[in-house]
């Protein structure tokens, strides 16, 4: 959650950098259980559009969420880079999150992160808890709790 950022000045957190459209997003690595390639998704009727359906993950049935659609972007284009990130958080049931591609893992110290206030949260920034500066690019750090809330 957002306040975790302010706890320790020199704390270094690992983020997985993903790409959605032209933007880079970061997900805290501790919530990530697995990253799988695109596979057969079974459509489920009468659910909100951001649910792509369900997949079989080693014998368990998991729902798959499209981060694109959830952020109000247009539908996913499935390519060979499309990945499903399996998120496991204590307060939520496991879920797969579909992203355009997975880039790398970065270490960000608190100093490299700029917190985002509530007032600036809008549109695709709505789930951001901060902006990370890494090398030459900016990474929007996602508050996964906020993403999964109210699904």
């Amino acid at each position: 959650m957002a306040n975790e950022l302010s706890t320790n000045v020199n704390e270094i957190v690992q983020y997985i950098v993903i790409r959605i459209g032209d933007e880079q997003y970061g997900i805290d690595i501790k919530y990530i259980d697995n990253i799988v390639r695109m596979q057969q998704i079974t459509r489920v009727p009468q659910v909100p559009g951001y649910f792509k359906g369900v997949i079989n993950l080693r014998g368990e049935v998991l729902p798959v969420l499209s981060l694109r659609v959830k952020m109000g972007l247009n539908q996913d284009e499935i390519t060979k880079d499309t990945r499903i990130i399996i998120i496991k958080m204590d307060q939520h049931e496991p879920i797969g999150v579909m992203v355009d591609s997975v880039k790398e893992v970065v270490n960000l110290s608190s100093a490299e992160i700029e917190r985002v206030g509530f007032e600036s949260r809008e549109d695709r920034g709505a789930y951001a808890m901060g902006i990370g500066k890494h090398e030459d690019g900016l990474i929007t750090l996602l508050d996964m709790d906020l993403v999964l809330q109210g699904l």
Binding site: P45, V47, V61, L65, I95, L151
Partner: protein, 723 residues
């Protein structure tokens, strides 16, 4: 070692004993003089006290102790059982149950002293004069009178396994220290019951009980071996204490599953080493004898306990067999964080058969591997054979695993007689509960969930169903109302019927209520038939009781029952006749995890429909589809059946040529039918139901998903939700 690892055993046993006590006290109320029931109660109360004490739950121990005192007086014929006393006893049992629940949730007994109940228990004792204290001292007097002559005998009887305990240096020193401190030394041999499951645990409890009043100097086999369960059915110890042998013996006996304990002053080398100890020891011997004298004096006292304890194993074994893999009592509170895990006790035989099947599975796999690698040309028939073999093994494996999960419903229904009794008292309405089929088995998950709905229905019958006695007499019915709870297996279902011989449902009253509440218009209400009207009772907040009582009639009840049963993939059905009574029938699937399903294709996607909800499959020519009230129907052999276009419902598009014959799956729910139009049939298949999680369960007619042989996920259509 600390006690917490025995918490499971303690909880299991406490619940077992509590249930036992509840049943027995109920019997006692019916038959106050029955000596068997009385000793049964005494035994259970005594064990409960001992267990609570050993685990260090002082409040629970105090309460059970006072309760035991009352039972003890009853057993000796000094107290007569009466209604007031039974009431207090029941309240006492409730309080103990509360302790157990608190312990289960928090590992602590809480801080409720239950003083009012203790006072009432003591009041019962005082009213009848013979207080237990007086009794005890009387016993002591007779015993000490007899002790003199008997002392020698006692001494000669002493000497036993403990004499052969070899002491190491440390122990020898501890022994000498104890003698220097003028402590009394006793040898004990403890015999564990043959069917004892955790001997080491019992031994530990014995140690703990002894350490309350004394010190353990040495054991045989060694303490380490005892902890590792490296002993047969007995072990011996040398104990030093400032107290009496009696106290220790009693303490040890209070540990459950201990068949017997023998004790006598410790002599052996120690005796010769310290002649000064002799008189002391003699006194000790007198103590032993005192115990013996007491045994013979009160014919019903301690001695029978021993016999009874010996008898118990058989009885317990019987019960175990009956209960098969039952965890003593299903824990009713999944909420919060229980201090222990939920478990199922499994019969070794069931596990063995599982093990065998798994080995067969491995063999089958190996044969498949060898068939696959052997010459390709000849593999066709061999492969089929192997697949058939594999199929039969997996089917058997499935059945065996199912059986492991099955528990009798007894664990939930056994509390109902007590509940009905309480309601009967509260409402001043004489009534009886007759139960059959308690041994009927259901999946553990279902059994855990079924308790509350059943309780609601029984309360409903007791409160609304049965008339007041005057009314019953006026109608020529027996004064005492009857409620029946019958369970039986019917094919792949288990049926539970709750029946009463009361007033039945007044459909006219329900009609008026429906109109009054605006649920139906007057016309609708009178056009509806009785079964539709009765179904209204299952709607949220629809209660016909004129008076809201403490028990029911608050509009929560039947709708909760219905939703709970349906959540378990079951059905509820009501039949009633005004003036004669009501029958609620619950139909539940034997198991939830694996079902037979019909696989179909709609719009290129595969779906499963539970076979249990399907009546027939028909080919229908599109020309035979009629429209009634702008809904599509077909006339199937004289029955008009509404059609449901599955492609539309599933938000996809049929890939079938609209002119071709349609494949219609006729689904059935109670008396209602519906035709599900699908594209294609694949066939029948056994499927494993997987939950889809919370995110995606808003779609009402999808009850879950399953994983097909090729790893693809197929959704399961709940035909009941569509009708």
């Amino acid at each position: 070692m600390d006690v917490s690892q025995y918490l499971d055993i303690f909880l299991d046993e406490s619940k077992e004993h509590l249930q036992n006590l509840n049943t027995s006290v109920l019997n006692l109320e019916q038959d106050p003089e029955n000596p068997d029931t009385i000793s049964e109660i005494f035994r259970a109360a005594h064990t409960l006290k001992g267990m609570a004490g050993t685990m260090g739950y002082k409040r629970m121990q105090t309460l059970t102790h006072d309760m035991e005192n009352v039972f003890s007086e009853v057993r000796e014929g000094k107290l007569k059982v009466n209604a007031a006393m039974v009431d207090v006893l029941f309240r006492c049992l409730d309080a103990i149950e509360e302790y157990v629940t608190t312990i289960q949730e928090t590992s602590d007994e809480g801080d409720n002293d239950n003083e009012p109940i203790i006072k009432e228990l003591n009041a019962i004792l005082e009213n009848k004069g013979a207080a237990p204290a007086a009794e005890e001292s009387a016993g002591k007097e007779t015993a000490s009178a007899a002790s003199g002559a008997a002392a020698d005998q006692g001494a000669s009887a002493a000497g036993g396994a403990w004499d052969s305990i070899e002491l190491n240096e440390e122990e020898q020193k501890a022994l000498e220290d104890a003698m220097m401190a003028n402590k009394k030394l006793f040898g004990l041999t403890v015999y564990v019951q043959e069917n004892c499951l955790l001997k080491a645990a019992r031994a530990f409890l014995v140690f703990k009980a002894i350490e309350e009043s004394g010190e353990i100097i040495a054991t045989s086999p060694s303490t380490q071996d005892i902890e590792d369960e490296k002993f047969e059915l007995e072990f011996s110890l040398i104990v030093s204490t400032e107290g009496e042998l009696d106290t220790i013996l009693e303490a040890v006996k209070s540990v459950s599953e201990i068949a017997d304990v023998k004790g006598a002053p410790f002599t052996g080398e120690a005796a010769s080493a310290a002649a000064a100890e002799a008189p002391q020891e003699k006194a000790g011997a007198a103590e032993t004898e005192k115990a013996a004298a007491k045994k013979t004096a009160d014919t019903t006292a301690v001695a029978p306990v021993k016999q009874e304890v010996a008898k118990r194993p058989e009885k317990k074994a019987d019960k175990r067999q009956q209960e098969k893999a039952v965890p003593a009592k299903a824990d009713k509170k999944p909420a919060g964080k229980p201090a222990v895990n939920r478990t199922v006790r499994v019969d070794i035989e069931k596990l063995d058969s599982l093990m065998n099947l798994v080995s067969e599975l491995i063999i089958a796999k190996n044969s498949l591997v060898s068939t696959a690698t052997s010459n390709a040309a000849t593999t066709g028939s061999g492969l089929n054979e192997q697949i058939e073999y594999l199929e039969s093994v997996t089917t058997n494996l499935h059945e065996s695993v199912m059986k492991v999960r099955m528990v009798p419903i007894e664990s939930v229904v056994s509390k109902f007689p007590r509940m009905i009794r309480d309601i009967s008292k509260q409402l001043n309405k004489p009534m009886e509960l007759h139960m059959t089929g308690e041994e009927t088995e259901l999946d553990r998950t279902v059994v855990d969930e079924i308790g509350d709905p059943l309780m609601h229905m029984l309360r409903n019958s007791a409160d609304h169903g049965l008339e007041m006695p005057e009314e019953r007499i006026a109608r020529g019915k027996p004064e005492t109302g009857s409620i029946f709870l019958d369970a039986y297996q019917d094919g792949n279902n288990v049926v539970i019927e709750v029946r009463d011989d009361g007033n039945g449902i007044d459909t006219e009253a329900v009609r008026r209520k429906a109109i009054e509440r605006g649920v139906m218009t007057e016309e609708q209400a009178y056009a509806a038939d009785d079964s539709e009207i009765i179904n209204l009772l299952f709607m949220p907040s629809f209660s016909t009781a004129k008076q809201v009582s403490d028990l029911s009639g608050r509009g929560v009840g039947l709708d909760v029952v219905k939703s709970k049963i349906e959540a378990l993939s079951g059905e509820v059905d009501v039949k009633t006749k005004l003036g004669e009574g009501t029958t609620f029938t619950i139909r539940l699937p034997l198991t939830l995890a694996i079902i037979q399903a019909l696989m179909v294709v709609v719009g290129g996607e595969k779906y499963a429909i539970a076979l249990s909800g399907i009546q027939t499959i028909e080919n229908v020519n599109p020309k035979d589809v009629k429209t009634v009230e702008s809904k599509e129907v077909i006339n199937l052999r004289g029955t008009v059946i509404p059609l449901l276009r599955m492609d539309y419902i599933l938000e996809t598009e049929s890939k079938r040529n609209p002119g071709d014959d349609m494949v219609v799956v006729i689904a059935k729910k109670g008396d209602k039918l519906a035709g599900l139009v699908v594209d294609e049939l694949i066939g029948q298949q056994e499927i494993v139901i997987k939950s889809m999680g919370k995110y995606i369960n808003k779609c009402k007619f999808i009850s879950g998903a399953t994983i097909l042989g090729d790893g693809e996920v197929a959704l399961i259509i709940d035909s009941n939700a569509l009708i």
